[in-house]
Subunit: 477 residues, 2 copies
Amino acid sequence: MTRYERVAAVLRERIEHGLYRPGDRLPSIRAVCQEMSVGISTAQAAYRQLMDAALIESRPKSGYFVLSGGAPSVLPSVSRPAQRPLDVSQWDQVLELVATQRDDHRLLLGRGIPNLEYATLNPLSKILAGLHRRTELNGFNYDKLSGSPELRQQVAKLVVASNCLLHPDDILITTGCQEALAIALRTLTQPGDVVAVDSPSFYGTMQILKANGLKALEIPTDPQTGISLEALELALEQWPIRAIQITPTFNNPLGYTMPTARKRALVQLAQRFDVAIIEDDIYGDLAFSAPRPPTVKSFDDDGRVLMCSGFSKTLGPGLRVGWLAPGRYRDQALHMKYVSTGASATLPQLAVAEFVAKGYFDRHLRFVTRQYQRQRDVMIQWVQRYFPQSTGISYPQGGFLLWVELPAAVDCVRLNERLAAHRIHVAPGSLFSASGKFRQCLRLNYAFTLTPAIEEAVRCVGSLAGTMVEEALQPLE
Amino acid sequence: MTRYERVAAVLRERIEHGLYRPGDRLPSIRAVCQEMSVGISTAQAAYRQLMDAALIESRPKSGYFVLSGGAPSVLPSVSRPAQRPLDVSQWDQVLELVATQRDDHRLLLGRGIPNLEYATLNPLSKILAGLHRRTELNGFNYDKLSGSPELRQQVAKLVVASNCLLHPDDILITTGCQEALAIALRTLTQPGDVVAVDSPSFYGTMQILKANGLKALEIPTDPQTGISLEALELALEQWPIRAIQITPTFNNPLGYTMPTARKRALVQLAQRFDVAIIEDDIYGDLAFSAPRPPTVKSFDDDGRVLMCSGFSKTLGPGLRVGWLAPGRYRDQALHMKYVSTGASATLPQLAVAEFVAKGYFDRHLRFVTRQYQRQRDVMIQWVQRYFPQSTGISYPQGGFLLWVELPAAVDCVRLNERLAAHRIHVAPGSLFSASGKFRQCLRLNYAFTLTPAIEEAVRCVGSLAGTMVEEALQPLE
């Protein structure tokens, strides 16, 4: 064993014994030299060996960090929803989550909002301020109904990263991704129609189904590979499904990314049954490693995939800038866009276009994804540390949402009621089901700057959940 | 006859003989003194007498102007639509009007866009620029789903001018008035339902009916008093009408304002048949005289009126800031708002709230309504001068849209085709009907700064229309 191999073996042992946990920073090269009395080149060679073994990673200007050693031992279960179309309920619970206001003093651990405190967002504020000074832009007038040409051009360039080749005219700018989803569903369906969805599924989409009188057919979904194509095929044979609605990349809330081969197979299945796919890719740009996964849309060779996305999870939801790539349904989608809100607001579109064109967006993405990856690992550690035993945790490779499956005794709607006294709110799993299933699950956001206050809140959630487990074990009086 | 009465009589004669037309500026006091060899107090007394007789008006810092002597002699006809529910068509024509882009080099004489060049708008740009520099506002985050509390408070104050007493919680901020109308219609109806509308009616609302599978029952409408309550009552007896959709103040496109007593009677009629009213008040703040007319909503004592409005016609449509006062339907409307676009964009709301709170909005309204009133008179003169004889013209008391009814031989859809060579586009009347009626009518915008180029364009429209009249008189070969 050479000198550098001995150094590497010592460090590896410390990692494997948990002295350094995933996400932790390792000692600097200089510190290793001092501690082990070796030269700089030896320490560097040791670290290189650990990187080759995928145990650690180097982060520019930050040092060396322990990588996550793979998924946490317990994943959430494969979902087993009712195999029949259902009306969607749960609006009251969704309203409680989304109708919060700026002066709400609760800590909303479950909301789907990115971290808005990073300095890499500052150029966007500057660009917006500048646009408002340049009055010749006529920014108070309507933009084109399909969206600003500048922004559609930038979006067409961005989606190349997901293997999509779109012309700017293939894209409609929308007022947030929510409008893209609403337009897509209204373009494809009539009241009473059945839409197949992954399960659990984003509550915003579920509520669109409710508002349009559509029925949700929830398909069993695996926390690692996504919607079951086998169950979907059976459902397509059995029910008159008008559209398949999925979030196949960094799924909200379950965290999976469908393997590329399954994405391709999904398109083939849709072609065989001549049904359209609505793909929600809103978290897709927040990949922890490059290249980001391809979209289902990238396999769409006959225009049946309507891809919905936007900048709400990367830049900020208050901008309300989203987009829809409606494929062969462009004409109907444009009509739906017109009647929904007319043209989208002009200046936010121009500002985002400039932010992307000048390279600020790429820089911001590189920064936030490094943060989110690190914070995912920290949040997983906290859940493992503070939540009841046998709690399942998702292991997303992008985005900033964690799905946590507690023991069956825990009812997260009731848990939220107990948390109210502590001014904490989680997103109960029942939001993500047509019929209020997944009550033992909850969604956590790890985009927060993870302060001791957040750790204390997670500990509080875990502790109250543990109490509920214990109460269930008490004999009835 | 005193000296000042003699001076007044001379000026009156000149006005009555058309030497000074409505909207023209009269000679200054000094000029009158010189011409008629009288003193300043005599000239002032003469002008005061003409003002008391409502022949002229004084405009601060501008001088004295001839008032319009009442409506132009020929008004458009009372509409006689088909008295049965119809599916809405005309999307292709609407798309041609609204899908124009910034680099469109046509002169769009018919679009519903205010003048965005007035300096009284500048503080809004400054406020927006300032907000983007104040990062602590967290303007990239979601605002409250129902809208920014600051803005709802300002809107509640604004609507007092229309005799409405609303609490800020009675108001939902929307992404433009179009979203307010879409939410109101979706809140009240199911596909297949019948909605009674004034006729002609705003194409944006008509297209919402189309997108939702609703049927339009067009009610005869008078160019001075609005929707016929008698015909509406008959229709309510005969058809299962779910909602009445009207624009009762400075109607788009017909220009009428329903007399206050008829607005009250409309609410009573709706109560008797237990049907809801959707009131589009988007032009209501642009009144040429104070106080502005009351809204139908101001007579609503049981929450059945859903009032839709916004800042698109006063500040700028590219801001996309509108509002809905949904009355008793608030819960359903909030759900529809959530699924449509989620919360509306944050910073435009805060900017408009500040613009209103600081008094800039009132100042801006005072300025633009003076401009628009003057420009209405000029545009009416141009139409009278350049359009074929017996052309009917509306006489709105607010807003910036004129409805022009040409001789039956003129087809404005074909007229637009001929105008294309001159890079001019008007809004053909057929846009405003479910079934493409009103082809001999067109809508003109007088918000433009009325340059010689605009006069030349109006002359061109009139001249080509005249050609169509002559062609119709030729014997067939």
